[in-house]
């Protein structure tokens, strides 16, 4: 009950509740108070418009329409509730039938319900109205039966969900009769959504009833409900529009009130609504911040493909901006393979998205320099720039299963960019797509090009994604965890392919990974990111032996190799990654660092070059650590975290 009260906390919920209660109160008191006013015949004042005496005018016998509308509340609500009760009871019978009757008869009931649900309620109501006869009683039965299939299906779904639970299974094993299980275990657990939907159903029944009465098939004179008043009123809409508007508004207010009340309760309880609008899914993990950035003052030669200085990415947070990438500088030369490693939350993926100009508002990207092939990417995107990005920069994303449009053929998806940027016609763009698919070793590319993504395996899709990047003449491939979502057996194929393309076409590669081994294997140089900053920048060959930052060393130590003692627990990095919303003062890694001293907690170490082309940000760089104690299978860890999001 307490949870039901939460409805009152939203403005809509509160309004709907107050209105619903108001309608119910009116239904009780109006006939007691005003029946005489409503029935009083005033032959001097027939079909009059609104006046001080008759607020909504009078009908063809001179009766006051305002009072008649008020008094009609009771009958309208009574009939709607009666119809709802019928709908719920019959619906429960239909809905629990499959459970009680067993598989075969259950399937027949299910199929019948599914066919009935396909027909709109009003059509079913008309059908039943013919069978049950014109009049209030017939209409109640008609609307009740018309609503039953929907309830039946809802009950079926709910019961099926509950009856597969353990406690129901346990009751079965214990030999409790099905009917008893239904009443003791199943129905109590589905009552909440049923009640909520019944409330909404009552609103719908009220409106349907008004509809039937309006057609002249419901309440008959001398009785009257809102629909009947509307039916009488619309005939004289030129003479006195109020006669039609008053009951119309009453129906609308009451119907809206019940409906919105039910919806608000449903929302408050987190209950699904029949035919309702699916709830908005939680917004995607905009803050997947994981990017290392290697600040690299690499020579200013003209062979620079990508040059990044002081890159920052910020998102608005509840208490000020969150900065998952905090000042990252690096550059990539033609043909170079740069790896970026770090845990999830380190900012490595966001760095990749930022340099590719794919961070969407409300995310903000700032940089002192962000050049791709000498073109400044910080300025407003121009057509020439889109073309440059579209042809020279290839992206490979983590999950090939979701990165292709499921509704379009693969060939078309590959060809699309070329048609747009290179002005190729449909046929030649498709021919190039087929050629590129062959280049990434997809067998039977002509046939494959006509297939949809779901007909491709994961590894094949990732190769197709790489092929898509090769449609232009890429100078840089940014691959964000390109093998994480793949089977171990195909990971190597994809890495080999990337390496082969780099070698053949002299393309630069930025490879984002949580996996030190992958990066060490493919890349020339590695940036290690932690909490949105680069903490170390070193040649990949030096990773294993001479890494100097304690975090880099922990990452390397966390990888089991042939010498790892299989009986010992896997190495783990203690503590948790830093929350980008709450970066501590001093060195961000200090809390997890075995070498941390007071200075580390107070003062942030700058990223300094050591003169040999390597950079490191640590007050204790290179000091010895006993890493046997702790260390972690960071990769696993991180992957789980990514999935958990």
């Amino acid at each position: 009950m307490k949870r039901w009260m939460s409805v009152l906390r939203t403005p809509v919920g509160l309004t709907a509740t107050v209105l619903s209660i108001g309608v119910l109160v009116l239904a009780v008191v109006a006939p007691l108070l005003w029946t005489d006013n409503a029935d009083a015949i005033d032959t001097d004042d027939i079909l009059a418009g609104p006046s001080a005496q008759h607020w909504a005018g009078t009908d063809n016998l001179g009766r006051d329409i305002f009072y008649r509308t008020l008094v009609a509340t009771r009958l309208s609500v009574e009939l709607a509730l009666a119809a709802t009760v019928i709908a719920v009871v019959v619906g429960l019978l239909i809905g629990t039938a499959p459970y009680l009757l067993g598989r075969r008869p259950g399937r027949v009931v299910l199929a019948g319900t599914n066919i009935a649900v396909a027909f709109p309620g009003i059509l079913l109501a008309l059908f039943f109205a013919v069978i049950f006869g014109v009049g209030a009683k017939g209409a109640v039965l008609a609307i009740g039966f018309a609503g039953a299939p929907t309830f039946g299906r809802l009950t079926q779904t709910l019961v099926a969900g509950i009856s597969s639970r353990d406690f129901v299974a346990a009751a079965h094993v214990a030999g409790v009769p099905r009917l008893r299980i239904l009443f003791r275990h199943v129905l109590p657990n589905v009552s909440e959504p049923l009640v909520v939907n019944a409330t909404i159903g009552a609103g719908a029944a009220l409106l349907s009833f008004a509809g039937l009465s309006f057609l002249g098939l419901g309440v008959q004179q001398p009785a009257y409900d809102w629909g009947r008043l509307l039916f009488d009123g619309i005939g004289s809409i030129y003479v006195n529009p109020a006669a039609a508007l008053a009951p119309g508004i009453a129906v609308l207010v009451a119907g809206l009130a019940f409906n919105l009340f039910g919806e608000s309760v449903a929302k408050g309880l987190g209950v699904g609504v029949v035919g309702g609008i699916p709830a908005l899914p939680p917004s995607p993990e905009a803050l997947e911040a994981d990017a290392p950035a290697a600040e690299q003052a690499h020579g200013s030669g003209t062979d620079l493909v990508l040059d990044v200085r002081d890159l920052e990415v910020a998102f608005p947070g509840p208490t000020g901006p969150i900065r998952p990438v905090r000042g990252v500088s690096f550059s990539v030369r033609r043909g170079e393979a740069l790896g970026i490693v770090g845990e999830s939350g380190s900012g490595k993926s966001l760095t990749a998205l930022a340099v590719s100009r794919l961070v969407e508002a409300p995310g903000r990207v700032d940089a002192a320099r962000l050049d791709l092939l000498g073109s400044d990417l910080r300025v407003e995107e121009t057509k020439a720039q889109r073309r440059l990005l579209g042809t020279s920069l290839a992206m490979v994303f983590q999950d090939p299963m979701t990165s292709f449009n499921p509704t379009r053929r693969m060939g078309g998806q590959l060809a699309e960019g070329a048609r747009h940027h290179q002005g190729l016609d449909r046929a030649s763009a498709l021919a190039r797509a087929v050629d590129r698919m062959r280049a990434v070793r997809i067998s039977e590319p002509e046939r494959r090009a006509h297939q949809y993504p779901h007909e491709f395996s994961g590894g094949m899709r990732q190769r197709a994604m790489i092929g898509m990047g090769l449609m232009g003449s890429p100078a840089l491939i940014v691959a964000d965890e390109p093998t994480t979502a793949l089977d171990v057996t195909v990971q190597q194929q994809v890495l080999d392919l990337l390496a082969a393309i780099r070698a053949a076409e002299d393309v630069a590669l930025v490879l984002i990974s949580h996996d030190v081994t992958v990066v060490g294997e493919v890349c020339d140089r590695v940036l290690v990111m932690y909490a949105g900053k680069i903490v170390e920048d070193l040649p990949a060959a030096d990773l294993a032996a001479t890494a100097r930052h304690p975090y880099t060393r922990a990452l390397v130590a966390a990888v089991p190799d042939m010498d790892t003692d299989l009986d010992a627990p896997l190495a783990v990095i203690p503590g948790r990654p830093v929350d980008p919303a709450d970066v501590p003062a001093g060195c961000a890694f200090a809390a997890r660092c075995p070498l941390a001293t007071a200075r580390c907690h107070a003062e942030e170490p700058p990223l300094e070059a050591d003169g040999t082309g390597r950079r490191v940000a640590c007050w204790h760089a290179g000091e010895p650590i006993d890493l046997e104690v702790d260390g972690s299978l960071l990769g696993r860890d991180e992957r789980e975290e990514v999935e958990a999001r």
């Binding site: 059908f127 008004a210 509704t407």
Partner: protein
Amino acid sequence: MALASSVATSPRVGVWSHPWVRFGVRRLGRLLVSLWVLVTASFLMIHLIPGDPVRAALGPTAPAALVAAKREEMGLDDPLLAQYWHYLQSLFTGDLGTSITLQLPVSQVIAQRLPATLALAFLAFAVAVAIAVPLGVTMGVRTRRGHGRRTELAFTGTSVVLGIIPDFLLGVLLVYVFAVTLGWLPVAGNDSPSAYVLPVLALAVGPAAILARIIRVEMVTVLQADFVRTARAKRLPARTVHLGHALPNALTASLTLGGLILTSMVAGTVLVENVFAWPGLGSMIVSSILNKDYQVVQAIVLVYGVGVLLVNTLVDVALALLDPRSMIRED
């Protein structure tokens, strides 16, 4: 059902292995079963009515001989199964019986009335889609990733309220404002093009509001999908990303619910026609029910039912065209 299961058990060879063939056969099987249920229900309708439908139609004062003759003519005294068989046979030959009150073949009555209803339904459908798709897409793009919170609130609030207002009440309201008060448009009938405006609006606004809301939600979801990021990475223009990549995916999810809305629109014509004295099937069925002219009622119920089934089938086909995975999902 029978057809569908025979396909499922047969080995997947030759033409049966083609997804479109399997889909077509299965969907056709479902349509036929639904049609059979519909026809049987409409047949049983007359027999479920308490009392004698002929007596009811002709009135309590009609001579017993006349009632008996009419019963004889309609074959109501034959065994039920024989009647059922006869009913199915007549349906296949297009014979829907004779209207007791109009003294006309029912098929002729329907042929007279159907075009007006179809015109209304199609126009309303077109208007609803023409409003809902651009509106839903625009709103989806503008409110993605938590943008435009206020726009979203205003849009959702308005569309919820508009979606709940029943079509016939909206019709009354429109008549009051545009026909009675302003006098811009005719209050009833279908004699001039301007007479279409109000009934079409009355039918279209609610479904358009609901549909636009669904499309917005779906667009917001789809715009977060990885493949939209891929499309952006290809540096396609925003229009291509939104309409070419996001929209088809948003529509597949919207279509299922949209189909329900569209079928309810078919039925919605019944009420709206009565508001505007529209000379279609909707006003006919009501007067026939009141006059107890059951053969007409039976036939019109059948026509509406077939309409609904056709819409549902078309929605499934459209779904399969938009998203080929939906064909497989049903397997």
